[in-house]
């Protein structure tokens, strides 16, 4: 079943087409990788799916509904979560508070509730804290709940970012370079988490430069170059595809 259908999206910055008439299907339950040389338009595509950029042209269907041009928080609520390329966290908050902010939508307390500290809001806070601790357990950060997120190491930040996206209970998870800048053993840890995510039935679409990591986790790969799709298929077909080799290594 096609969960996410990207239908001919184009994004122009002035005269430059960062993404040019790009189409792609993401099937429910798969791990789909989006690769390509620097500047190929991968992150731009991500930003269009997640609502941070409005496509100049084209449509994006999620569960049959066109989500192109909707606001990021609306798209997030529909079930598309994302992580960011650079480790983006709420640096001044503790790890637990980061997770609680991620669980915010799960709370039924309204503003007045929270300000006047009603019993309902106390109960909701307790429930959210419990939920956050469980999620921290999943990503292996429960020992660090009181530490400010900004002081975490690189891998731990990546894990927290992933955990926060998981708190949204998304149907599709967009991972933007989840293992960039990590050592091989750190990459292993992160890939293990991504595989766990897939086992929970969450569809993953990821952008990544580390080909070894992509090969080990992706079910299908789409290759972008200069904003256009040049290949799509199983990992083994892709590494032998002459067009792909040309794009990466030149003639």
């Amino acid at each position: 079943m096609i969960l996410l259908n990207i239908d001919g999206i184009t994004k122009k910055f002035g005269a430059l087409a960062a993404v040019d008439n790009f189409s792609c299907d993401v099937i429910k339950g798969e791990c789909h990788a989006l690769i390509g040389p620097n500047g190929a338009g991968k992150t731009t595509t991500f930003n269009m799916i997640a609502g941070y950029l409005r496509p100049t042209k084209g449509k994006i269907f999620f569960n049959g509904e066109n989500i192109a041009g909707l606001k990021p928080h609306v798209i997030a609520r529909k079930g598309i979560a994302r992580t960011f390329q650079i480790r983006v966290l709420f640096d001044s908050l503790s790890v637990l508070e980061n997770m609680m902010a991620a669980c915010h939508l799960k709370s039924s307390s309204v503003f007045i509730d929270m300000v006047f500290q009603t019993r309902h809001s106390h109960e909701e806070n307790k429930r959210l804290e419990q939920l956050s601790l469980e999620l921290l357990e999943i990503v292996g950060l429960s020992d660090f709940s009181e530490v400010p997120a900004g002081t975490l190491g690189h891998v731990a930040q990546g894990k927290l970012g992933l955990g926060m996206a998981l708190a949204m209970e998304p149907q599709v998870l967009l991972l933007d370079e989840p293992v960039s800048g990590m050592t091989p053993s750190e990459t292993e840890e992160m890939l293990h988490l991504i595989k766990q995510t897939l086992q929970r039935g969450i569809t993953v679409l990821l952008v990544e430069h580390n080909m070894k990591a992509v090969m080990s986790v992706a079910d299908r790969i789409t290759v972008l170059d200069f904003g256009q799709k040049i290949a799509e298929g199983a990992p083994n077909d892709i590494i032998n595809n002459p067009d792909v080799i040309k794009a990466y290594l030149g003639e």
């Binding site: 928080h73 640096d91 001044s92 908050l93 508070e97 292993e188």
Partner: protein, 343 residues
């Protein structure tokens, strides 16, 4: 899988947790309750201690402005900085004064309306403007404040009195048979509203709203990706800060008994911002400390005449340079636990 994480020894981890903690929510401890009650008692006795009418007048002025400052801090918790707060004070002041003078409504009701009208104007203007990045919102808010001031200056001269403004605004109606005309009674009135504003600010700090506010301030893109409606919360914070500015403006109008557009110039907005920054936005007490500190410094250097502004400016620069988190952070320097992420 957990190799990297378990590399820390227990001791190291403990140390890390002790020295650098995330933002702390204010907690209610017995020590704090006692301290609050003491300050409360002191404030209640203040008019008896200070027999000097002039200083009482300064303290009342400080109290009135501090309500606006408390409001501005609530907005700044979400990131944006507003330069328009004097404008919203004007909205509150004119609203309350006109309701009392033209329609004969009781001060206690008009005060509430002053806050509501200011909040509505704030939300209406903030809804589009808060979509801008913080620096641009700052510029737009500067215009907002000026436009509001000029509105009262040029539009509806019959109603708002043009450049001369409104005069002989009646004092608040007597409550429980007590007339609020003397400086002492006004002191208690303002004190009550400062306490209420502080209570609101403190409640927000203790609630999860504060977490959401700091989250939005840190990274609004990440907050949006978590389904948080960033604009809604920013408009909410701006609305609250305008509500408080409106209340403060109404108290201003009824205390000084006359208002004109010149009372609400950019200088007033600059001062409001300076009080907030100097006090520090890290704590709900910051705005009050900042306002009191700069007001008192301002009064003490009043003899310098034209140089008064300069002295205040230098004080501002010194505080911002030396204490980026405001004078509220001084105790933490003595305790030696400087927050490492305070940049």
């Amino acid at each position: 899988m957990m190799k990297k994480m378990t590399n820390f020894t227990q001791q190291e981890k403990k140390m890390q947790m002790q020295t650098i903690k995330g933002k702390e929510r204010p907690r209610i401890t017995p020590k704090r309750v006692v301290l609050t009650l003491l300050i409360f008692a002191l404030m209640l006795l203040l008019p008896k201690i200070i027999s000097n009418e002039y200083w009482l007048h300064v303290i009342i002025g400080t109290g009135i402005v501090s309500i606006t400052v408390i409001g501005l801090r609530i907005l700044m918790q979400t990131g944006p900085v507003s330069f328009a707060q004097a404008g919203f004070m004007a909205v509150g002041g004119y609203t309350s004064a006109l309701l009392v003078m033209k329609l004969g409504i009781s001060f206690w009701i008009s005060l509430f309306f002053a806050g509501i009208v200011a909040a509505c104007v704030g939300c209406l203007l903030g809804w589009p403007a808060l979509r801008l990045k913080a620096d641009y919102f700052f510029l737009v808010s500067f215009c907002m404040g000026e436009v509001i001031r000029l509105f009262f200056n040029f539009v509806g001269v019959d109603l708002f009195g043009g450049p001369t403004g409104l005069a002989s605004i009646p004092p608040p109606d007597p409550v429980l048979g007590i007339e609020i005309i003397s400086k002492t009674s006004f002191f208690y009135l303002v004190f009550l509203f400062v306490c209420l504003a502080m209570l609101l600010s403190h409640s927000i700090d203790r609630s999860r709203i504060a977490t959401i506010f700091s989250a939005i301030k840190d990274r609004d893109d990440l907050a949006a990706s978590l389904g948080i409606n960033v604009i809604k919360y920013k408009v909410l914070a701006f609305g609250i800060s305008c509500f408080l500015a409106g209340i403060s403006g109404a108290l201003y109008a009824h205390y000084y008994t006359c208002i004109s557009p010149t009372c609400f110039t950019v200088t007033q907005s600059v001062n409001t911002l300076a009080y907030t920054v100097v006090g520090g936005i890290g704590s709900f007490l910051g705005p009050l400390l900042g306002t009191a500190f700069l007001r008192v410094v301002g009064e003490l250097v009043r003899t310098f005449g034209d140089y008064e502004v300069m002295v205040a400016g230098v004080a501002l620069i010194l505080v911002v340079k030396g204490l980026p988190k405001g004078i509220i952070s001084i105790p933490s320097y003595f305790r030696g636990s400087r927050n490492l992420n305070g940049k």
